[in-house]
């Protein structure tokens, strides 16, 4: 069930504060059902705060959030997630004291196609490491686990907060491939990223956030064509890597099947 016009999520006029500091100044955005929407912006633009407001971890003081036709503005995060919203937090937030398998048993069991067995099919590496503690995993493995954990909620909407952060280039490519795959599974995706080039390559729609306000909204392709703007967003060469000159090439084998 989606809202009007095939909208998975719509937010209007969000104002969010941390204590007294005013972070979001009337952010409005929409995530179309079955599409990838990317939210780009510099460090500190308010991207993470936007996601935290949407999932209910840092409730917006003003504004309105509708997810799958339900107004969720004042809901606690567990109710929002239970609607079918998977959340991959910034910095992964793996439970370091739990094994991989235990990490996968934390999410609410919503009915749907995803089970731990299917997760292990998609991420064989997690199956291999299922008895290892979260803290023993590499950054790439932790990111896979964070995505796997969110998928186990059987989400209709997946929100990812900088999933490529701190990962080796080839793992980043793998990660984006998985996000693309989620769209073909029919999951609506809201992807917050610093890696503008790669996000725009897979996204349908793009927003750019600056100083807590949306400064661009349009088709991802149109933004990708605006070289100057992408350059400015990408900052100091983020997303500028090429797989072939990566010194970490050898690592890719480990993740190819992931």
């Amino acid at each position: 069930m989606t809202g009007a016009n095939g909208t998975a999520l719509s937010a209007t006029g969000l104002h969010t504060f941390y204590g007294k500091s005013h972070i979001l100044h009337g952010v409005s955005l929409e995530v179309a059902a079955g599409r990838i929407t990317t939210l780009l912006g510099r460090n500190g633009a308010g991207k993470t705060t936007t996601l935290r407001s949407l999932i209910g971890l840092t409730p917006a003081r003003e504004g309105r959030i509708t997810i799958f036709g339900q107004e969720t503005t004042r809901w606690p995060s567990f109710r929002v997630a239970a609607l079918g919203v998977g959340y991959v937090p910034e910095g992964r937030r793996i439970f370091p004291n739990l094994s991989v398998e235990e990490n996968l048993k934390v999410p609410l069991e919503r009915s749907g196609p995803w089970s731990i067995a299917r997760i292990y099919d998609l991420f064989p590496r997690l199956h291999e490491r299922r008895h290892n503690r979260g803290r023993q995993l590499s950054g790439g493995e932790q990111q896979m686990l964070a995505i796997a954990r969110a998928l186990l909620v059987n989400p209709r909407l997946l929100m990812l907060d900088e999933p490529s952060q701190g990962l080796a280039p080839l793992v980043v490519r793998e990660m984006f491939r998985i996000v693309e795959q989620m769209r073909s599974e029919g999951i609506s995706v809201l992807l917050v990223e610093q890696n503008a080039r790669m996000s725009l390559a897979i996204a349908d729609h793009a927003y750019v956030l600056d100083d807590g306000a949306i400064v661009y909204s349009g088709p991802a392709k149109a933004l990708a064509a605006d070289e100057e703007r992408v350059q400015a967003l990408a900052g100091a060469g983020a997303g500028e890597w090429q797989a072939d000159d990566s010194p970490l090439n050898g690592l890719s084998e480990r993740y190819r099947n992931a």
Partner: protein, 289 residues
Amino acid sequence: MSSLVILNVANGVVTGAFFVLMALGLSLILNLSGIINFAHGGFLALGGYIAFALSKYVGFLGALLLAPFLAAILGLAIEWTLIRRLYGRDPLYSLLLTFGLAFIFQDGTRYLWGAQGLPMAIPAFLAQPISDSLFFVTRYRLFNLAIVALIVALLFVLLRHTRFGIRIRAGTLDLETVAALGVNVRLLRSFNFGVGILLAGLGGVLAAGQFRLDPTMGDDYLMPSFIAIIVGGVGSLGGTVLGGLLIGIATGVTTVYLPSASEAVMYVMMAVVLLIRPRGLFGEEGMMS
């Protein structure tokens, strides 16, 4: 001499088992909700008194089964109405609240059942000594140990092998992420609180059979249980079990050689452990691992 030591080690283990029950409940509540429950001793006494009232109708064993659950239900009611309002606030608020609750429990039991101690009848077969040579150890003490061992084992199974337990362990480190994964963390905290109180209530019934009922009986266990948690390492339930037993034994043995120091010994133990391992014996950053 040596049989006296054995007697006191045995006594210490049994006393330590009460500390273990108390400390595990305190630890669960502290780790997940950040509440230092000063009313925990009050819940222990309440478990004992509820069992006392029930035992007229259902016998000691029936009361042993029922009373901890009734204490837990009362605990849940208090968590729902009072304690949950203080989650995430300055710990001072919950300290004040639970301190106040402890006094209310104490005076409540005094009002209902009187200030003087009451004997709790235990079944005749449990009151007998284990054997002629071990005449100083009653079967009841062994029974206590067996029950505590069983409950500790069940608790560990719960925490390791059920989703509920796994979510509690995850929540001790990062409750926010547990909530963002769709888990109703309000219920999780309530049930966790209930389990903690259940353990205290059970401790109360067992202690009432061992000693007697007294409105302040919980006070004798509260401080040693806090120390058990610190010695074992905050966040480590295995450490809490070990800490409780160690303190029980240390107190028991000191009673033989230096009776006047039998209470001080646990503070000395705590100081020594903290000097050598500031996080306690099994304390580590990954709590409840």
